[in-house]
């Protein structure tokens, strides 16, 4: 099987950008969960998930976004989702995620939104 999953973390203007690539399913979601946990533990709660290279997501992956949102917002941060492809967006859409998460067309727009709202 070549349906791998990779995460790359970088910093853009004090915002942590997690670029996810490949297939986010029940097999790979634990790695994503650990990556977000590591960022929160290090005090980084202004997160942008770059979904431009995310090929597939199932409920296990969506569940990771869902489970951390409250904790991160309580700490004055947010998880913003950026550059979701149409194929992946339809899964977010079925569950009403666009009403609950801040979703932008590009990573730059998501990063900029953090500075506009000063911390949230």
């Amino acid at each position: 099987m070549t349906q791998t999953f990779r995460i790359e973390s970088s910093d853009q203007d004090g915002v942590c950008v997690l670029a996810v690539e490949g297939y986010l399913d029940a097999h790979t979601a634990p790695a994503f969960e650990t990556a977000i946990e590591d960022e929160i533990r290090s005090g980084r709660v202004r997160l942008v998930v770059d979904c431009s290279r995310l090929t597939y997501i199932s409920s296990a992956g969506l569940g990771v976004f869902m489970s951390f949102l409250e904790e991160i917002r309580e700490q004055g941060g947010d998880i913003k989702l950026a550059a979701i492809t149409p194929k992946v967006f339809q899964v977010f859409d079925v569950l009403g995620f666009p009403q609950l998460f801040d979703i932008t067309g590009s990573v730059e727009a998501a990063v900029a939104r953090f500075s506009q709202t000063r911390g949230v």
Partner: protein
């Protein structure tokens, strides 16, 4: 069902590692049934969700068990049956909580069945306690 019914089956060890193989199997049958790429992807997602539930909940990720995915295609419908003999559950007991409420409760689960129901035209469970559990998901073909 009609005279042109075709059946396909995949048996895989109960490990999330095999979800990719299951998705390839389902996508190929979806395309054989005439669904476009988007629709085949949605059907693939529904079957992935069902199998992930079996692997993680019915078999508690013990790969000594086998998950069976059976597909039946005729001129009107594409049916996927997921069969296991692990811990069953009563579908009506699975609460349909709002996503907003799940977020407040910091839950990561509770979305799989919702996705399956959103994608498939009909979803049925047949649970024979201690024997087998069968989840049947039906998708009507576009032209039917």
């Amino acid at each position: 069902m009609d005279a042109f019914e075709r059946t396909f089956a995949l048996h895989v060890p109960s490990s999330t590692e095999n979800l990719a193989m299951i998705r390839d199997f389902v996508a190929s049958i979806g395309s054989k049934a005439g669904f476009d790429e988007n629709e085949a992807a949605r059907i693939t997602l529904a079957v992935d969700e069902a199998c992930a539930n079996v692997i993680e909940h019915a078999y508690r990720s013990d790969d000594a068990y086998i998950v069976t995915i059976r597909a039946t295609l005729d001129s009107e419908v594409l049916i996927f049956d997921i069969v296991d003999n692990g811990r069953g559950f009563v579908a009506s007991d699975v609460a349909q909580v709002d996503v907003e409420e799940l977020i407040r409760q910091r839950k990561s689960g509770g979305l799989g069945l919702r996705l399956i129901r959103a994608v498939m035209d009909d979803v049925k469970y047949q649970i024979t306690p201690g024997e087998k559990n069968e989840l049947r998901m039906v998708k009507r073909l576009k032209h039917a």
